[in-house]
Symmetry: C3
Subunit: 261 residues, 3 copies
């Protein structure tokens, strides 16, 4: 069951597509799906051959509206159960944040609550014009815990996070772009085409370079001063095969074939 | 006197409106008004029945142009006097930042200097199309001290703060939206209507949820790791009466009546 | 040679223009030019009479496309050489970041890689409509080290930095404005006029005030609590001659003549 609700497909050029696959419920997330997503991202993170991970929702109507409300009765009816449920969400958030590979969200339609959280953890976020975003949980008497609100705040900043949560506003694609929820808005019909073109551009770049860039930007969130060894890592690329490949391809006006070493 | 220059009104649904009320001077702020604002926010912060605080300026022309220049002669003529004056501003800034309730600025017309600081400390900021913002104090030979410049920087970021201060640029509503000075721009005629509709949406949300969200986002500004007790607080809402109210109202498609417990 | 590739000119009103002057190569940067830029900024930083520094590129086609690729063969062919080259870039970045005077980038045409880094270190950044920005170095197998990626991240935030680096996207002026790469977009023909008008507005402000504002905003990036002496510095301006000058000029509706004391 959970296998099918989170699909993992791999293309020839090592782009992996993770699909939230429960279209009959607009891809509403269940406890088991959060667990499966955490497993999938842990596995992909450990696989050095991956060049780019695209995450999307099945069908054109919805990326995901967030967590399935029907599970509140069984799995989130008090703080203890909710904490167990939340631990699976937190693990997925931590795993996505730590993922060394480039990640890209291809967003069609509704992208709300937990759906917006997953999309927001991706490095590049492309949506269609009619997409809608938000987290109107104050109406439910429901709080966004530290892991989730931390991810939202990292994405849009503290003040925009407050605006989204207090008013429970639903953001259209223009507002989502302005606030940084998405990095690009395209026409609804071209979301998947544009997303995979972007994924191919990313996959065509040197994979070690992408991982270094992600690692450096993460490291800089920590105010601890950089060590000499860390500073030196900024120049390690010059000793890689891929740099020689990239440089020669540039001179010869060819397409480089990077090997990740 | 000071009572009248800062009006406090309360609606039936526990929305409190604080009005900077000196329209004959476009709501220019005096030392006593800063003191009074600090008192008002301290009192409202301690009142758990408050659902949302709206702050606005009397009249359609101006939210506030900042501090009354005429007081420089008497109350800010040297660094010692200026520090005493500044302490009242700093206390108001600290009190507004610490306010547990949602705050909303309804901005008509001029919103400059100290006026922009007060508006910028609110969680949601709605202005009219013709509103103008800025802090052209370098022309006066005047510095924005740490409390104030910290609030500006928290609002728009370091680089936008520099742009505003160095050039002394006056921002129109488009630029204010782009830089995050405001969260929404509406037509001049509808500022108060839109602001109070937003306040009512906020007041209709669960008050404990709003306070938790504000508290969590503030806490995340501090890089100290979260304790287990803090992480657990993210699930405390599931044991509240308001969560049961919100969840049942959702299932029954009714409007929830939250009680803040 | 290096003297000519980095031109320094001073106007009557103490605005200093630094021109990246290698138009036959679209102002591509060489190792010696990075060294010279570091020297120039160190010298200007120590000169209290400077009111504003404008940095621009020679010719209408390009601010700078970044580092000269031809030097990879000689000066960046392995990690050791690249680190020596990078140390000159890092020194220039540190010197520009520490510069106490207001800085302004006047950007025409291409502003990519190291060019975008230099522009991004300026306090105010004005470009023409047809300007283009980016850092498509993953195609070269090349990494942006900590100093450079830190500057990019400080400018546009972590998520936008990732978008720019992973996809290798070239940003048009609209996207550059939205992401904060530039602070203003003007028509191509008016870039230099608008930039120098802005520089004159800045130079007309009190120079001590500008330096305090830059210093305070830098200090606030450090989470260490402010000391009483630091907080008091926010009021030191009230004891300056320039404050008296600014205040009297305001009352008399004259233009103040600030002296920086």
């Amino acid at each position: 069951m959970s296998e099918e609700q989170v699909l993992v497909e791999r293309s020839e050029n090592d782009i992996v597509t993770v699909t939230i696959n429960r279209p009959e419920k607009l891809n509403a997330l269940t406890k088991s799906m959060w667990g499966k997503l955490g497993d999938v991202f842990a596995e992909l993170s450990a696989d050095d051959s991956v060049r780019c991970i695209v995450i999307t929702g099945a069908g054109e109507k919805s990326f995901s509206p967030g967590n399935d409300i029907s599970e509140f009765e069984t799995d989130r009816s008090n703080s203890e159960k909710a904490a167990a449920y939340g631990a699976l969400m937190a693990r997925n958030i931590d795993t996505m944040k730590a993922c060394p590979h480039p990640t890209l969200a291809a967003i069609r339609g509704i992208c709300v609550g937990g759906g917006m959280e997953i999309a927001g953890l991706c490095d590049v976020r492309i949506c269609g014009e009619s997409s809608r975003f938000g987290a109107p949980i104050a109406k439910l008497g429901l709080v966004m815990g530290y892991h989730e609100i931390g991810a939202l705040s990292a994405l849009v900043g503290k003040t925009a996070a407050l605006e989204i949560l207090l008013e429970g506003r639903i953001l259209d694609s223009d507002a989502a772009l302005r606030l940084g929820v998405v990095t690009r808005v395209v026409s609804d019909e071209t979301v998947m085409v544009e997303a995979f073109e972007a994924a191919e551009r990313i996959a065509a770049g040197a994979p070690l370079v992408h991982r270094w860039h992600k690692q450096f930007l993460k490291r800089l969130q920590d105010p601890t001063p950089l060590s000499d060894a860390e500073l030196a890592e900024g120049y390690a690329c010059y000793d890689t095969e891929d740099f020689k490949e990239g440089y020669n391809a540039f001179l010869e006006k060819k397409t480089p074939a990077f090997k990740g070493r």
